[in-house]
């Protein structure tokens, strides 16, 4: 398929999905709308996470830091600023944080990067908690100026669509090629003249801006925010898990996984929330072991490969034992 036809296909699929999401509140009850809102939130979060982390294979665990900073920036200014300006402020604050954080840690790869982003996220959470307790003298804040639930839904929908559109656009741009090059072989990309540092910081900031905007939009839904809710590490972990299980290197993998898992989460939330988390953990392990490219990489050939591996298990073990003896 040519590049233009893929673009046309991706955009039309997205348009159909967006229209369905737009029409949804008219058909379903309040529970359905809240479920759809969660889906949209995770679509935006996991698509924007994959935009940077899937392409470059840098495992960032800082999503909840960006989400929380966005939520606080939005919540603190909501009284003075109009709704959209508060959202933009949330995005800007998160992007600024990402630039600072990225400049400090993006030269480190692999586990170091993952662990450092996690450590910084926790540091920010504890710092905000400390500041709230010592300086402001409160634990959390009650949001007084709250927009209509319909506005929140439309905003998060727009952010989700924008996240996917940005993913499509970045994939087709020089920045996207640079990011993919970094994921393939960073040293080679650098040798070929890619300003890897700049590309990484820009990519990281774009991905953070979405998390911040979603944080600002979702904070009003809780009407009361405190560091433990908005910096909840599980929002970040869940985003990463969803993207990885869906296939972080692909465009549609994270989106499909976000919808499936959010529906599952909301359905199980009231009765058995732990069971959902356990399933998520188990699925992550299984997908890393047997399907490293995520669910989006599932093809008939892989299934046949699994069957053959299962059938060939016994003889292979015997052959393997013989090899060890020979050596």
């Amino acid at each position: 398929m040519s590049g233009r036809r893929i673009l046309g296909r991706d955009l039309s699929v997205l348009a159909v999905l967006a229209v369905i999401a737009l029409a949804l509140p008219a058909w379903v009850n309040e529970f359905g709308v809240s479920m759809a809102l969660t889906c949209l939130m995770y679509v935006a979060l996991s698509s924007s996470w994959s935009l940077f982390c899937g392409a470059t294979r840098y495992l960032s665990l800082a999503t909840s830091a960006f989400f929380g900073i966005g939520a606080y920036a939005g919540a603190l200014t909501l009284g003075e600023l109009p709704w959209l300006a508060a959202i933009a402020l949330g995005a800007g604050a998160a992007a600024a944080l990402a630039v600072v954080m990225g400049s400090a840690v993006l030269h480190l790869r692999g586990t170091y990067f993952a662990v450092l982003t996690f450590g910084m996220t926790e540091l920010i959470r504890h710092a905000v908690t400390f500041a709230e307790k010592q300086i402001a003298g409160t634990v959390g804040r009650v949001l007084v100026f709250v927009p209509e639930p319909g506005t929140v839904y439309l905003t998060v929908l727009a952010l989700a669509v924008l996240a996917v559109v940005t993913s499509i656009a970045v994939r087709r741009s020089r920045l996207g090629l640079a990011l993919a090059g970094i994921g393939g072989d960073e040293l080679r990309a650098q040798t070929l003249g890619v300003d890897t540092r700049r590309a990484k910081v820009i990519g990281f900031a774009i991905s953070a801006a979405f998390a911040g905007a979603v944080g600002a939009a979702m904070s009003v839904r809780w009407t009361y925010i405190d560091p433990a809710t908005v910096f909840n590490p599980f929002i970040g972990f869940q985003t990463v898990l969803i993207a990885l299980i869906g296939g972080a290197a692909t465009l549609w993998g994270p989106l499909v996984a976000a919808i499936v898992f959010s529906v599952l989460a909301e359905a199980l939330r009231l009765q058995l929330p732990q069971l959902y988390m356990m399933a998520l953990g188990l699925l992550l392990i299984l997908s890393v072991l047997y399907l490293p490219g995520g669910l989006a990489s599932l093809r008939p050939g892989i299934l046949i490969g699994w069957r053959d591996a299962l059938l060939a298990r016994r003889p292979a073990r015997r052959a393997g034992a013989g090899k060890v003896r020979d050596a």
Partner: protein, 291 residues
Amino acid sequence: MSFGAWLELIASGLITGGVYALVALGLNLQYGLMRILNIAHGEFLMLGAFAAWLAYTYLGVSPLLTAPIVFVLMVVLGLLIHRLAFRRLAATSPDLDVFEARGLMVAFGLMFLVQNFASLVWGGELRGYDYLTDPVSVGGAQFAANKLLLAAVALAVSVALIVVLRRSLLGKGVRALMQSPVGAQLVGIDTARLHPLMFGIGLGLSGLAGSLLSMTYAISPAIGEPYTVTALIVITLGGFGSMTGSLVAALALGVIEALGTHFGSPSLKPLLSYGLFIAVLLWKPNGLFKR
């Protein structure tokens, strides 16, 4: 401050430091030896703590008796996890970096699995029991007997482990593997046997620490995660693969936290340890005790 108060403060830092050492040594075995950054490490501490609590509350068994049993059970569990997940991962990963990244994700999955399993079975509330709570006076300072016991056992096991790794043939093999995996295999060290065993012992130490500390602290399914982070901080401070470094760093961190909590405020403690962690990782990624 009087001499007794200072003693009490430093000693309470050393007591927590002893627990940190036990947890960190286990993580360091896993990461230093086979590059498995087991982010689920603290969850096995939590399982050990719940095992000791169950045994004491329902059967009246002393935690000191439960601790070695928990150690053995956790070693077996570790062997099983290694067999099911990490062996395949090592066989299918093209290089060590990919193995490390995938291993981290598998460990993430394990963390979700174990932590939520515990909260499904036991619920989220804090639990505890009273065991040897009588105060003991040492040189003008007062300590709960169970805290002293906890520190003594944790330090004894840590030192014993370091001595075993230094002196025995097994330890020589482990150290050789840490220095150069390929070289160690060339001189006939069997990684296929040593890796699962050391992974198991790592989990065993975590479980042991958990069942010991359930004597003194309240437990819940969420207690594991902070210990994982602390262990990470300790092994970065002490240097990946350096056991003595871990012991020194653990005791130092315990004392720093005790001082920070005493002279600052208790909510400063996480800020202090995370700040230290990030600073060390950024400036000295190979640890403070490595050249």
